[in-house]
Symmetry: C2
Subunit: 378 residues, 2 copies
DNA sequence: TATAATTATGTTACCGATATCAATTATCCG
DNA sequence: CGGATAATTGATATCGGTAACATAATTATA
């Protein structure tokens, strides 16, 4: 069906004739009867302008709806006060909170965020990073663990703080704030095994690289316990439909008694599928999600999920970037963030307890690593 | 639980000592043995540079991981080739496709997109729009129908094409590509009434302004039919949980036999709630979503929803902005986009048919308006 | 009231690209 | 081979702000 278009002239038309040249400080200055320097001061250091002048400038600005041009300022100050953020996708709600955390912190310190998405593709990422650097961002936050060789070279030569979030990259570029997805998956799987589950499946999706880290962790655990590995995945995005589909496929093959899902969407799809297939959750089958999105609250029973500190990751990455900017010094800085259990009835109470214990143990081990690392550096 | 931090020095450390001054065209030029003008040409009009020179420049750029600074270019060319896009929220998947449509079209014509979010708040929107204008965007796409008076003034004085999408604003700033949400809701409601439903409820959310447009349309229809209006809403975002909650509330009050939801998330929440409350869908209760997101596929039965052409809205807004930029002429331009029915078993086959008919009728009426408007202008 | 101290404003150079025009070099053809 | 033409490169001004210093206006103080 084609869009239906009505071109209609309205009362505002007289304003809309041809493109107007945007006013500049000079224009305001002339109107007020000062030089552009005074108007510049009005914006950057109002107290250095006489009250009377300030009022007159204010009036003219108000009247003209004037907004100063930040472009020459970026050149002059050789700092844009902008931080670039590249996420893989806007259709993945995981990143919504990351964005909020990043932006919240940026604003707190007087920075802005330029946001781009890479579509889970390293070449698109290359493009977007180049674009952000070409706008002279003062720092970069990246959320995918892999980059093209050219991107790596550019990033190392960029001379600005760079933070990688979500996962911990093997060769960090500078700052890294992430989760040990693999270890988390191992511990979760072990907890389910200890709780008596013997047919634990992993539902993934081939789009996201972090999925594979978790899958690796899952495989380690089942191998360690001498159990059969049951991995199911699907090309493309991981969503409700994927979960639904993978459940059906799994049931035809070897019916699992527990499913660890790569994320909450897949897990919700599984849960919905269970209602259709009349599977009792968590008795017949326990379902564990990943991320702890709000969607977990929606179902009955609520989805049990591994909650990731997404907002905090954004905040922390930003804090660290700004710290390095203010110090004028680039430094390597790795931060491992711990995950928590988002309680929900898709796992038994005993299982939830076991998972909690395992995650706590993992956190403890990491803290020990921390101490050792400190000694190593000292 | 606090994040666990490990600061570790790695093999890349030697590169990371202090902030490096970013290289400029001049630096490349010196290395190659030409003037910066030649390097500038290398990027903007490669064919005007001798093959041999081109190769040498290429090598140096490759080696230095050089990315040209676009900031002075924006000043010099007095065009940024950037279009600003402001959406209310990244946690609303409705906008993911809009973004894709906008960006896809932008890239096609050599433009970039600067993306910001306003958190459904006109004052935040004011900030973000000002920021985008301060970066000298060549055009703006806004997705909320209301703006502060200051924003209105600034937009009218900005001298760049501005497109408003999603809804059709009462006083359009320039370009508008939107949906007649109110009329669509009226027609949907009427279709359900004609199908025999007598207790039709509307589930909204108080965050989103478009919700109210739809609510208005719903109210018109029930009033027209002499039925009781059953509006339920909740402060805050509209999501699964909201739908769940509103269903319970509605059932305690006057159990509805049909629910029109402000969006698909609320509708999914309702559907999940039905499974808990043992309500038969669509026999006891039919559920209509809004937007036609992919989430509609996830449930059993699939969610019946009014699909909005989100990607097309983005594409169209961008096309029209670029057209005006190339023409160097600002013009009012309103486009009404039609909606379609996304089939799903949460409404009976007969109901789905009726809704389709009503929507088709609406599209016809709009086409007539189009003809009249053309005559009016001619 | 004169002079110093302070406040307010102005002047000039510069940030790093590109537009424009000028100069140089290479190529062609009779 | 010489001059014309085309291809390539260079020189200079400019975009619109801000930094840094200079000057003018005001106030404080002796």
């Amino acid at each position: 069906m084609l869009p239906i278009s009505i071109i209609r002239r309205t009362s505002l038309l007289e304003i809309y004739t041809s493109m107007i040249k945007r006013p500049k400080l000079q224009d305001i200055a002339k109107q007020v009867g000062v030089t552009k320097m005074t108007v510049s001061r009005f914006f950057n250091d109002p107290n250095s302008v006489a009250l009377k002048t300030r009022e007159r400038i204010s009036e003219v600005i108000e009247e003209m709806g004037f907004i100063p041009n930040r472009v020459p300022a970026i050149m002059s100050k050789s700092s844009s006060k902008c931080i670039g953020l590249v996420i893989p996708s806007f259709s993945n709600l995981v990143f919504a909170e990351v964005i909020d955390g990043v932006e919240e912190t940026a604003v707190k310190y007087g920075y802005s965020v330029l946001l781009m998405h890479s579509g889970y593709d390293v070449h698109q990422e290359e493009q977007k990073i180049a674009e952000l650097i070409s706008y002279q961002v003062d720092g970069l936050i990246l959320s995918e663990p892999e980059h093209t060789p050219l991107t790596m070279k550019r990033l190392l030569k960029a001379g600005i703080p760079i933070a990688e979030i979500m996962s911990l990259p093997k060769v960090p570029l500078g700052i890294a704030c992430g989760i040990e997805h693999q270890q988390v998956a191992t511990e979760t799987t072990l907890a389910l095994i200890e709780s008596g589950r013997r047919h634990i499946a992993y539902f993934g999706a081939r789009m996201d690289k972090r999925t594979y880290e978790r899958q690796e962790g899952y495989l380690n655990a089942v191998k360690q316990a001498g159990l059969q590995s049951l991995v199911y995945d699907e090309i493309g995005r991981s969503n409700f439909t994927t979960g639904h589909l993978l459940l059906k496929r799994a049931m035809q093959h070897t019916p699992p008694d527990a499913i660890i899902c790569t994320n909450d969407d897949v897990a919700m799809g599984v849960l919905m599928g269970c209602q259709e297939l009349k599977l009792k959750v968590p008795d017949d089958l326990s379902i564990i999600g990943y991320n702890g999105l709000n969607v977990c609250e929606a179902s009955t029973p609520k989805l049990c999920s591994i909650a990731t500190p997404r907002r905090m990751m954004g905040q922390l990455a930003m804090e660290k970037i700004i710290a390095q900017l203010e110090a004028g010094m680039l430094q390597h800085d790795l931060t491992y963030l711990s995950v928590t259990l988002r309680a929900g009835g898709t796992a038994t109470a005993a299982e939830q307890q076991k998972i909690k214990e395992h995650l706590d143990k993992l956190n403890l081990v990491m803290q020990q690593n921390l101490s050792e690392a400190r000694l190593g550096v000292a």
